[in-house]
């Protein structure tokens, strides 16, 4: 896109409208949060929230603080660690289930029975089982992404046009060839989409796990992470930091999803031409 | 099909409305960017009640013309009039969709969540000028005329695609349109069903004379159905050859093997093939 096109898009009616709505939202927030200060009457709900200006001040302070960035680092580590583990186990499992009907018949029902159990319900069992707290968080994180990835791989494999496979067979492809050159690339788009969704779930689980175990009765533990940051801010009474933490996680989540999308785009260039 | 059909049923003398005048229409997509000219100074005059077949290779801009008449797209310049009234033109680049020009879509647009009868009654019910009883009575009788009795309470997804097409046409006719716009409606049907659909369409036409603007790439379909063929050049779209089809109405399947039919096919074939070759070479994506 040329420069003029870019600025056109930036200041297009759509973007301006979006910014306008967010602006109004911020104004309401500020006014509501400062209602007690300014009007002597505290608005319900919104009156208890720290105002955006305070949050901003707090944030500028935190940017210089290394432990803030340490939290980022810890959370990212956990998220990508758990996510990678889920991919390493989930993608082959999903593909194998897609190819082998008997295995699917055996494994899928058990998979489906376990799936409705929310990952967080596994936390106590996980703590009992794994020796360290870090591993127990990692396991729960893994579970969160695992289900989504497997479901998406299966969905993608199922929707492969049978005629692709038939065409390959008639051209003399071996089983391995067909897998490598048709099944795998054809499932890639679903894997990419599944990853984006799975990433969201992973963040949820990590944050929750960090809050529960870090802030729970188990004390220090592995420590750190943005979830723990939020919880300790709450316990410590610095409410502005809570919101800083919330927004930080939001941004972090968005960045990881974008990264995945770009990566996915590189792996599946043919989708761009649609 | 009733055995009693008037003589001279192909005459257009008794049709008073539905004349379309397309004058010098130009449509350029993305004028500041890629500037793709889809329609190039196209002028066509369609008299009221005529079945006008627009033939051309895929992607040559025929649908753009149809969309302009229907009011789904705007035009860059030129004008389109219906019975003398301006549909779109200088100062009014896009027509407003209305029930005087109803489209029958390529993949069918019957509402899957309504029964066939509800679909057919939809137009008049929305407009709200008549009572529900009146509307549904008329709907039922029109369905009977088209041989659709018995399927009133089925959903479109439950019946064959041929039947769906007929329901869609009846749905359009309920609003007494002046023009019916067909956008390759039989493209997705197998040739067996197609032949039956053609006869059914003519049958319906003989009962309700409307102007028909029919886009197709199937020459046989075009000559069988139409009063006139307009063969379009490949993108940009412009009338290349106009042919009168002087086979008398009412027509039936036996027309397909008549010598006159063969003659017309030969005449049209070369022109169409030339344009199809051009479109193929240009690697056009189907419209």
């Amino acid at each position: 896109m040329s420069i003029s096109k870019f600025t056109d898009k930036l200041f297009s009616r759509a973007t301006l409208r979006g910014i306008f709505a967010i602006g109004i939202f911020m104004v309401f927030w500020e006014v509501g949060a400062r209602s007690e200060e300014w009007f002597g009457y505290r608005f319900p709900f919104i009156g208890l929230v720290p105002p955006p200006t305070d949050v901003f001040v707090s944030w500028s302070g935190l940017i210089a603080d290394p432990s803030y960035w340490q939290s980022w680092y810890m959370s990212f580590l956990r998220v990508f660690g758990g996510f990678l583990a889920a991919m390493v186990v989930g993608i082959p499992l999903g593909l194998f289930m897609a190819i082998n009907k008997s295995f699917y018949g055996m494994a899928f029902p058990s998979f489906e029975v376990l799936r409705p159990i929310p990952p967080l319900a596994w936390v106590p069992a996980s703590i009992i089982f794994w020796p360290t707290q870090e591993l127990s968080i990692a396991f729960v994180t893994f579970l969160g992404a695992f289900y989504t990835i497997v479901i998406n791989v299966l969905g993608g494999a199922k929707s492969i046009n049978k005629q692709f496979l038939q065409a390959a067979q008639s051209m003399g492809a071996s089983q391995w060839d067909m897998f490598r050159r048709i099944v795998l690339p054809a499932t890639l788009p679903s894997i990419v989409v599944g990853s984006a969704v799975g990433m969201g779930i992973t963040w949820e689980v990590v944050v929750a796990a960090e809050m529960i175990s870090g802030g729970g009765s188990s004390g220090g533990g592995a420590g750190g992470g943005l979830g723990f940051f939020i919880w300790s801010s709450y316990v410590g009474g610095s409410y502005e930091q809570i919101i800083v933490g919330m927004i930080s996680i939001g941004i972090a989540g968005y960045i990881s999803s974008e990264l995945l999308r770009q990566l996915g785009g590189l792996l599946t260039p043919w989708l761009k031409t649609r | 099909m009733s055995a009693v059909i008037e003589e001279n049923v192909g005459s257009l003398a008794d049709v008073t409305s539905g004349a379309i005048n397309i004058k010098d229409v130009v449509k350029i997509y993305d004028p500041d960017g890629a500037a793709v000219m889809a329609v190039d100074h196209c002028s066509i005059d369609i008299p009221a009640g005529e079945i006008c077949m627009i033939v051309g290779p895929s992607g040559c801009g025929k649908t753009t013309l149809l969309n302009a008449i229907a009011g789904f797209h705007d035009i860059t310049s030129g004008s389109i009039h219906l019975d003398g009234e301006l549909l779109c033109g200088p100062g009014k680049p896009q027509a407003k969709p209305g029930s005087d020009r109803i489209v029958v879509f390529q993949n069918g647009a019957l509402f899957p969540w309504k029964t066939n009868l509800d679909n057919i009654a939809f137009g008049p019910m929305m407009v709200g000028n008549q009572s529900k009883a009146e509307i549904y009575d008329k709907a039922r009788s029109m369905m009977a005329d088209a041989g659709l009795s018995g399927t009133e309470n089925n959903f479109p997804g439950e019946v064959s695609s041929g039947l769906r097409r007929r329901v869609e046409i009846v749905r359009a006719l309920m609003n007494d349109p002046k023009v019916l716009l067909f956008d390759e409606p039989y493209r997705a049907l197998d040739s067996l069903t197609k032949s039956v659909m053609h006869e059914a369409l003519l049958e319906i036409y003989y009962r309700n004379k409307v102007t028909i603007f029919f886009i197709t790439h199937d020459l046989e379909e075009a000559i069988f159905l139409g009063h006139r063929l307009i063969i379009m050049s490949s993108r940009p779209c412009k009338p290349k050859k106009i042919m009168e089809v002087d086979i008398p109405h009412p027509r039936d399947y036996s027309v397909l093997t008549s010598p006159r039919f063969r003659e017309l096919m030969n005449e049209a074939k070369d022109v169409v093939h030339e344009e199809a070759q051009k479109a193929f070479d240009a690697g056009e994506k189907e419209g």
């Binding site: 759509a14 979006g18 967010i22 919104i46 929230v49 008997s102 029902p109 058990s110 029975v113 376990l114 409705p116 159990i117 929310p118 990952p119 106590p124 009992i128 089982f129 020796p131 969201g200 949820e204 929750a208 809050m211 943005l226 809570i242 919101i243 933490g245 919330m246 927004i247 996680i249 939001g250 968005y254 | 099909m1 055995a3 229907a70 009011g71 789904f72 969709p97 029930s99 020009r101 109803i102 489209v103 879509f105 993949n107 647009a109 509402f111 969540w113 309504k114 939809f122 008049p124 929305m126 407009v127 018995g150 399927t151 997804g157 439950e158 019946v159 039947l163 609003n175 039936d252 399947y253």
Partner: protein
Amino acid sequence: MDQLVDLLKSAMPFRMVPDNLIRDIAGICTQHSFAAGENIYNLGDTADDVYIVSSGSVQHILGVDSGTSQHEKTMRSGDIFGWAAVLEGQNTRLAATSSKEPTEVIRINGKELTRLFKTDPAVGDVVMTRFATMINKEFYVPRTISDQVPGFKQALVAKSLQGSEVTTMALTVYRISTWLKSPRPYLMLIGFAFVLGFWYLSVEVWKLPRFVDMPGPTEVFTEWFSEDPYYGLSIYTPEYYKHIGISLQRIAFAFFLATGLGVPLGLFLGWSKSFREFIFPLFEVLRPIPVLAWVPLAIIIFSGSETPVIFLTFLASFFATTLNTMLGVESIDESYSRAAYCLGASRWQTFIHVVIPGAMPYIFTGLQISIGVAWFSLVAGEMVSGQYGLGYLINTAYMMIEYPKIIIGMITLGVVGYTTSAMVRMMGDYLMQWRVRELALGDN
């Protein structure tokens, strides 16, 4: 044989039948000869065969009541008569026929022909329609007669649906019976056996180091189903149901609130470009924040321990529902709303009659996701704050070192979660009968 095939093909109704079927028809044909002036059949005779003239000529006199005068017609090579044999509800001849000169005919048994067409209903449909057309065009018969030509696909479809409604129940029963006949249920049991077996073996038999503190299946199941459980929780204790009930209550409240707000919001976001340009960015800024990150803020804002939990559940559900509804509206084929405009509907009418029903399938998929997400948040919320509920149960069981209760809680969660999701799906099937029927009939 080839001559027979050619003759068949020259008869109007059979003209477009594919070759393999024509050969089958030729196979059931029989040939007959008649001398000049010989009677072929009379009015009122049993109508069993359809006739096609091979050579010669046949005099055909229609003698149908109800006002039409007798009509005489001469049939020649390639002409079909005796079509009463394919009319539903017509067992007797409608005409008298005799040969005018030495004539050869082929006869096709009506019932056999019908049977053949059942193997390819699409073709049968076309042939029968052509029969009807031919009868109407070439013979002067009242409409009531030609209406008796059975249409195959329509008849098959209409018969199966008139009167008997394809309900979800009928569909389920059908699906279950097919399922039982396949290897699937047995594979499923093998899979379960594996999982349970592994659990059992690793905890109770091999006593693997990692699994030392884990409760084994025997412990869990005896506890769960005992009348006097050691830790006080089993299917016989009212407390068990209290936890389930409270969780369900919270889910129901949050879910319905989220649906009530999220669906309309999603619909408008999808439908109105202006509205979307204003509101969607704001929505997308708030959505990435994990719902659980709202916990401390929720505790601050809302007093009590109940409201924050419900708020969190609501929030998760709300985002999922709104987004999926919006995507649903965007996925509706443009042709539907265009068709509505053509037919005279206003923007608002199109919204009600096209957008809302059209988005329903997507909305319900979204609702299933939404309820899954709701459970996710609810459990987290219950673990952190709140009294009672399945999440609370699991957490306290952990704290009090009553480990079997953890597993009981987890399994219960799975079952209840699955049931609520299935209920949403069934509600969707109920509201979208058209979809159920469409899918039931396979591809058309």
